[in-house]
Symmetry: C2
């Protein structure tokens, strides 16, 4: 193998260059699943890096589940390439990733004052201006979901002027306002669609749907977007790759429970059962 020299002149850090290089080779099959990668010390020699830098590159791949390692043995490529694990995707990115073309039909767009529930979730004051955007979302022309997005107007003034049927909100936030969404809390449950939803989505008879709520956050923890969407139940499937965390968590003020949750089932109002 001839390692292409990593370029210390370009802006991207060396460990990211190495990470992407290894990721590329794994994806291309240069390293097959369960095949051993060169040892950390050898990678360091090959690319003329220090072992610390190599470990920094491997750490990301390890964390993403792309590789796994065994003390005394070596580092291996994982069976499944969990590229997607734990990551967050907008509707457009999601559809694009499947090789389909996303289009959004704008149903309604306006500036409204926030009501209590929206305000508390978006960390603003009730009455503050909210960008409201309702869209019918399609993939290759097929209606997939109706979605209402709400954003604090203060964080993205004039957002509506940038909205069209193609660009995603995420990409506008990044390019125009330099706001990067890093995290989101998603919750979803099954339901029967209303008459309007069934019509709008051209759903078959029983009208089974997903109801999805997503609250997105910026790096510093500020809430940036609250979306409530209804997805077709007959053609949509939610999937995620989740990992067991090693962080301990305190519950009930005293008991330390290791391996705390997420990506789990929660109970919504256990009333009337």
């Amino acid at each position: 193998m001839k390692p292409t020299r990593l370029d210390s002149e370009i802006s991207q850090p060396l460990y990211l260059q190495l990470r992407d290089k290894l990721l590329g080779m794994i994806h291309e099959g240069t390293y097959a699943p369960h095949e051993r990668l060169p040892s950390e010390r050898n990678l360091a020699k090959l690319y003329r890096l220090s072992r610390a830098t190599v470990r920094q590159a491997l750490a990301e791949l390890l964390q993403q589940g792309v590789i796994y390692s065994r003390v005394g043995k070596g580092t291996y490529v994982s069976e499944l390439h969990k590229w997607h694990q734990g990551s967050l995707l907008g509707f457009n990115e999601c559809v694009l990733a499947q090789g389909k073309i996303p289009i959004s039909e704008i149903l309604e767009s306006k500036i409204v004052p926030a009501i209590d529930e929206q305000a508390s979730r978006l960390q603003i004051i009730p009455g503050d201006e909210l960008v409201y955007l309702a869209r019918l979302r399609k993939a290759d022309g097929v209606p997939i979901a109706v979605e209402a997005a709400m954003l604090p107007h203060e964080l993205c003034p004039g957002l509506l002027t940038y909205i069209n049927g193609k660009a995603s909100i995420y990409s506008i936030l990044e390019t125009v306002y330099d706001l990067q969404v890093t995290t989101a809390e998603v919750s979803l449950f099954p339901d029967l669609g209303s008459k309007e939803e069934i019509m709008c989505l051209s759903l078959p008879k029983p009208g089974v749907v997903f109801r999805v709520e997503q609250l997105s956050f910026l790096r510093d923890g500020r809430a940036i977007e609250l979306t409530k969407a209804t997805y077709r139940g007959d053609v949509c499937e939610y999937y995620a790759t989740v990992q067991r965390s090693k962080l301990g968590v305190i519950t009930e003020d005293r008991e330390v429970v290791r391996e705390h949750p997420a990506g789990g089932m929660k109970y919504r109002e256990m009333l009337e059962i």
Copy 2:
């Protein structure tokens, strides 16, 4: 603040001790959301560690979203404590985390030969022995889901003798067989329950349910458990905290798409639409 001395004698690595210490202080409110933590250099002095070790501790918290950092400014506690983010939870752990008591009623348990679909997903040969375990799962006595779990018998010989209504499969795998589940792929979609399911779960009329499939993996990528479950739609909600990944991914053999998916919506058989 008087930093309790970290103990280099005990087996746990120093950086994990520091991580847990900081995590504890954040949870107890010693450091409030958006409050600045001591700088890396100061933490190193306080705990008599090297800056590299401090950074190793912070890296985990950063990755878990517990803290965020800004070059030139400092490191801050995140608004929301995303303890759970990206982690994986068994049914029992999930229910316990809500302060309820999980009980499982065993509906059927047996050793069966694997059929093709099961075998391919569990990475074994069709006909290999499979541990099959069907359970009705309850929280505080309320039926929540019917679940069928399938595990390669070779990886956990005699598993059925350890099964009871209380211990979780995950905990048995860990304690008896020293097998640790690290990752799982989850997919779910809404549906209407069958007559049997509606009866079994004492569901109200329309009988809306979640259908959940989960394939769990060990560290080295070996598949360990395939579960197919039906959850009540009226009291269950799926939730997860997902993060935008920085890994680039190659799709369609040429195009590089950054910010690739998971925790997204996928389309199941776009047939007949």
